[in-house]
């Protein structure tokens, strides 16, 4: 279980300070799909960076099971990202000189044949079986994002963090990508940040962030009720 308690992230810009995240507490259960929703600049991505250990909270603490990020040395936090977490960003961030298969293998725990086979199988499952040896610039936007998803899944992380994973894709492709990500719930949790509520329709919980604070938390039932009421 991942838990953030009273998280605040403050950026300093000269004399002025900006609270990107303000006193946020959040809890994510295993195999849960959490959506973080909010307009641009609301602090949703900052919250994701905090939860994934890419940023350290100014105040507050994050726990993965009983392990507190704040007490971990930097290299342990890095190792945590490598073993327990997977990432999908708005841009694919594939390494341009590596093929699709190699990009996936970058995140594999070992660079051996077994993991290479696993990566091939994963890419085939994602519909890229015939494009294993294509470079990123030879793939479409959706295909690149699918390679990025495979890279996020290859090491079977406990949590996948997805930051605007469909932000640069058309609607149809975006929904396909989200379907692939949702499918990971059998293996671990998914935390997706977006400003598009449509792609969070299947989320177990949707947390809305405004000005760095949680504005609302709604489960499926509440959202369904809200929709039918409107």
């Amino acid at each position: 279980m991942l838990q953030g308690e009273h998280l605040t992230l403050t950026y300093k810009d000269g004399e002025t300070t900006l609270d990107a995240v303000r006193d946020v507490s959040i809890s994510i259960e295993d195999h849960q799909f959490i959506g973080i929703l909010g307009p641009s600049g609301s602090g949703k991505s900052s919250l994701l960076y905090l939860l994934s250990g890419l940023r350290q909270a100014t105040t507050g603490e994050i726990y993965l099971d009983d392990r507190a990020y704040g007490k971990m040395p930097a290299h342990e936090r890095v190792a945590l990202r490598r073993t327990e977490f997977g990432f999908v960003f708005q841009q694919h961030f594939l390494i341009n000189y590596l093929t699709a298969l190699e990009n996936v293998m970058v995140a594999a725990p070992m660079q051996d044949k077994a993991h290479a086979e696993q990566a091939r199988a994963l890419l085939a499952d994602l519909g890229l079986g015939d494009k294993l040896h294509r470079f990123p610039y030879e793939l479409s936007g959706g295909e690149r994002q699918r390679v990025a998803i495979a890279r996020a899944m290859i090491h079977r992380p406990r949590i996948i963090f997805a930051d605007e994973p469909t932000g640069l894709l058309d609607r149809r492709t975006g929904l396909q990508v989200m379907a692939l990500l949702r499918g990971y719930r059998d293996h671990g949790s998914l935390i997706a940040v977006t400003h598009n509520p449509e792609i969070l329709s299947e989320a177990d919980l949707v947390v809305t962030i405004r000005e760095g604070q949680i504005a609302s938390v709604k489960d499926r039932l509440e959202r369904a009720t809200q929709v039918s009421a409107s």
């Binding site: 991505s45 960076y49 890419l54 940023r55 930097a74 290299h75 890095v78 190792a79 945590l80 990202r81 490598r82 073993t83 977490f85 990432f87 960003f89 841009q91 961030f93 390494i95 341009n96 000189y97 590596l98 093929t99 298969l101 190699e102 990009n103 293998m105 970058v106 995140a107 660079q111 051996d112 044949k113 290479a116 990566a119 294993l132 040896h133 470079f135 610039y137 890279r151 930051d163």
Partner: protein, 789 residues
Amino acid sequence: MNPLSTFTYYRRHKRRALMLTALLALAVMGLYLVFGLLQETYITPLYTINRYLSKFSLVQPDLGTTPDPTVVAQIRAHPDVALVLPQNNVEIAVPNAGGVDTLFRLIGLQEADVATVLAQCGVTLIEGQLPRPRTNGLALSQELATALNLKIGDTLERTENETGYANIASPLELVGILSGDVRLGIVSYEYLDNHERYRDLARYGVLVIARPGREAAVDDFLRQTIRSSRTETATYQLLKEELTRSLAVLYRIGIPLVLLVTAAITLVIGAINRLAFMRRLAEFGTLHAVGRSKEWLARRLTLETAGLALAGCALGILLAWGVMAFLNAAVYAPRGFAYNPFQVTVLPYVVPIPLAVIGFTLFTAVRALGRMDAVAIVERGELSLEGERIGHAARVRAGSLPRPLASTTFYRRHARQAAVLIGATALMIMGTSMFIFALEAFDDARQPLLTHLRWVSLVSPNALPLETTVIAQIRVHPAVERVIPVAVFSPLGIFVPPTAPNYPVEAYGVTAEDMAYLVELYGLKLAEGHLPRPNTNDIVIPWTVAQNRDIQVGDVIGNRDHPIYPNAPTLPSELVVSGIFTPAEAYADETWFSFMSLEFAEKYPDSWRTDLSLIVVPKAGQKAALDAWLESQIAGENRLVFTYGNQQALFQRQASTILFSLSLVESIIALVAALALTGLNYVFVTQRQAEFGVLNALGFSRLQLVGRVVCETLFTTGAAWLVAVLGCAVILLCLQYGLYIPSGLKLNLFNLTPWFYTLPVPVAVLAVSAGAVGWTLARLDPVAVIERR
């Protein structure tokens, strides 16, 4: 404000501009210092300390001690000659601040002439007194006294410098310090003339002073009319010609180095420019779309680089001047060899760098812009290197195990980048080590000069004939097998590439009986002809010398038509090559010396120097003990002892002095290379910030990323080292088979010393790159990278 000004881009990209300027400045400074210091160490001192020849000339016979009266009368009769004064002189070696010796004449003048010569030279006595007649007094210019570390009352003695002061048969006492336009060393003519030990060592001749304004005419007359194979002249014009020749030699040696460094720096700058170009494709596409021609764009790009190149060049020259001025003040001037740090003659060595960089930029800009499609660029948006297509070479094999993070993967997919890095590093390695290879080649090739001393030792007289008691002492020594009287000559020179002058190869004048014995002892065999017959002008020479000088049996040497080496004086008599020895089976056993008839040589006591030496043959197994005894008990003021050990040590001392200078040169280039290549590596790494940011986000620690980049650098520097070593090996083989073997010489391809000098550049590049990359990645913020995109 003009947004399209040539300088706008670099004004807004100061770090890049600074780096390119610094790289160029470093390269220019490095080359300037290398050639400036080489010039001030090996060439200029010759001119500096012999510039007295601009005030007077010297004429003396090539051999013997008596100036030809006809020649002297001819000089006196010349209308432009003001004065002809008798002079004698001995040469000493003056070490300069770089540890290199330069020959300088201590001129013996009669008392009445000293004031005239000083006045002619604009030199005055500032301390002490002038040498009195028939005393061992010496007056020296203060710079020379400083260089020789002498003050009034000190003596110049052979024991202090056996080779440099070999002609100082008896100590000379510094009694006066001179100061003036030129440097002088004056001793008493009568002292050198009357001293029995100087009589054979001193050269005799006349000192010629021209009428005012007629110096050039007298110089021409002495060079063109008086100078002959039997009469040596030392004039200002000849000095300048020698200086020009030396500069030409330096130029010949320098061209490959300049080419290598220029090529490497051009590659580095070209690679950096190319990265910048790729990042600016959108800018160029847009400008082209709004009506700027490709020629205009190419011109703008070239002008941008030209501005930086010229600024870098100017900065490099300024920095080099600063360093040269500092070295002058701190090292050279205090040792009597002050120089002008602003050396125009060095500029040609550095000018190719900015020119090559500008030319290369123009070429690549025209080539790249020629293929530019503005619409494609505008449609594809901003492209960076990361957006560049991977070449055909990068096609992957479907069945192979993916190794995405291997160093080879990156460079397989960035073959051009790898080629630039490897090429530039390899060129730098070759550039830095080539001097050492040349030196070692020369050193290897001349080893046979010493080979004969492995079997025997030589005791030679110094100024006076060997005393009979000493000869007797040697003869009865229990370790001595045989003592052979020998007249030692140097009738032939051998040319040892790449730059050495003709190296004298000694000839032993021995009796027929001793000759047969020595031939047997050295295991020599005649390839053709016969050994010299007694009382004839026959000479038998080694195969190498015959090959080197293209001499056949029956050839006559030593006359005007067949001089012993180009421009050499004639021998007292012609010699006929009666035989040629076979070459040794192994080059290490090669022996370079000739035999001729002792009886014949003794017919010319006034011209051949026939004070007999002794070849001392040890009993079996007694060589080391005998050499030790000769060196400790026999060597002295009147006797020179040549053993394999002390001559080898002398060779090594000479080589290590030069090696030290060259190591300094290499250090300068290695530093420049390391910084330039590190700069390039740094640029390449910064281009990959996104990759490193994402890898860090995915869980790769900074240490792992630094390790990966270090591995990649190790791969390129390792590959570059292999390429450089291969290149050096190819050059050595070309030298061996193209230059040395046809000259009868051989390089020792298994001499490891120069190969060690290929290591500093890759090691420095690796170390500095690791530091720079570590420093860069230590500040890596993955979130910033992700958000920036």
